[in-house]
């Protein structure tokens, strides 16, 4: 049996690269083709004939892609992107640091690891809780039928936000403090990245993993 979702995505995207790419839409159209195919099989057609029969549902993929493009405006695309990517990511980016702030308000002391003369400050309860935020973000995105990459992005968004902040602050610091240019503390910077980006990202990823898999295809329900 063909991979209907892959087929639909490839044909629509190649027919009209400007059509808003929505995994949700590809899934829906693929499910329709798959049911048409199964219907044909149940009427006694061979697999090959049933595939041909299902493909007759779309005489011209260019026309279909164009009709869909017209039916769905740019605004709709933005709404979809906002719904499946930016809003879940924003919720996650707010929620994870909020817990850290609460822990600090509760005066929960961090563990300090000394690596040479450098201190690594670890909020262990926060790190332990981060998989929940990874799962929360990826689940929110999955419920909005976000693609794998978007689910991963949302799941890791708190760590990515910190990375983004570093990416903004570092050039500013280099410009404003000339001393840093000649005497940049690479080791300390690397340790900070490990502490506030890589370790949280790993913890978030653990939580997000169960929600990163593609939805179970309709075919597998039949097994």
């Amino acid at each position: 049996m063909p991979d209907w979702k892959k087929l639909v995505r490839e044909r629509i995207v190649s027919a009209s690269p400007t059509v808003p790419s929505k995994e949700e839409m590809f899934s829906e159209l693929a499910a329709h083709l798959e049911e048409t195919y199964e219907d044909a099989l149940s009427q006694g057609m061979t697999e090959e004939a049933a595939t041909e029969f299902a493909l007759q549902e779309v005489p011209d993929w260019h026309v279909l892609a164009e009709k869909i493009r017209i039916a769905r405006s740019e605004e709709d695309f933005m709404n979809e992107r906002t719904r499946s990517l930016w809003l879940p990511a924003l919720a996650n980016v707010i929620a994870a640091p909020a817990l850290l702030m609460i822990l600090q308000k509760l005066a929960i002391q961090p563990r300090v690891l000394w690596i040479g003369d450098m201190a690594m400050v670890l909020y262990l309860p926060w790190l332990i809780a981060l998989p929940i935020f990874g799962a929360f973000g990826a689940l929110l995105a999955k419920r909005s039928h976000a693609r794998f990459v978007n689910r991963l992005f949302v799941g890791l968004s708190p760590a990515l936000a910190v990375l983004g902040a570093f990416g903004f602050v570092l050039p500013v610091a280099l410009i404003t403090d000339r001393h840093l240019l000649t005497n940049f503390p690479f080791a300390y910077f690397a340790l900070t990245i490990v502490n506030w980006v890589l370790l949280p990202a790993f913890a978030l990823l653990i939580g997000a993993l169960p929600f990163l898999r593609e939805p179970v295809s309709p075919a597998s329900h039949q097994a």
Binding site: E24, L29, A31, T36, Q56, V58, I70, A71, R72
Partner: protein
Amino acid sequence: MTKRIRSKIARGSGELAILSLLAEHPLYGFEIARQIGERTGGALKFTLASLYPLLYGMEKRGWVEGRWQANQAGRDRRYYRLTPSGRHQLAPLRKEWRTFFHALDALAGVSHA
């Protein structure tokens, strides 16, 4: 009759058919196409290519809304339901088509027995 007018008639009748079905209960795309085919004795036939652009257009206008949920076989399907705005569209659309058929009947005697 120009292609443009034929296309408008097809679209209008398609929207009325879909809205009428969804007024009864929520359905997903394949079921909408199947029920329209069955209930019209095959006179109206929707393919994927003709159905989904209509559904997406109606969704954009706020007449229907789609939500993923499992069907009876446990598969995730996007069920469409009528919104209050879509329900408001139904009566004027029915009236419009009734007027159209009466006019056609008066002109060409196409009323059914």
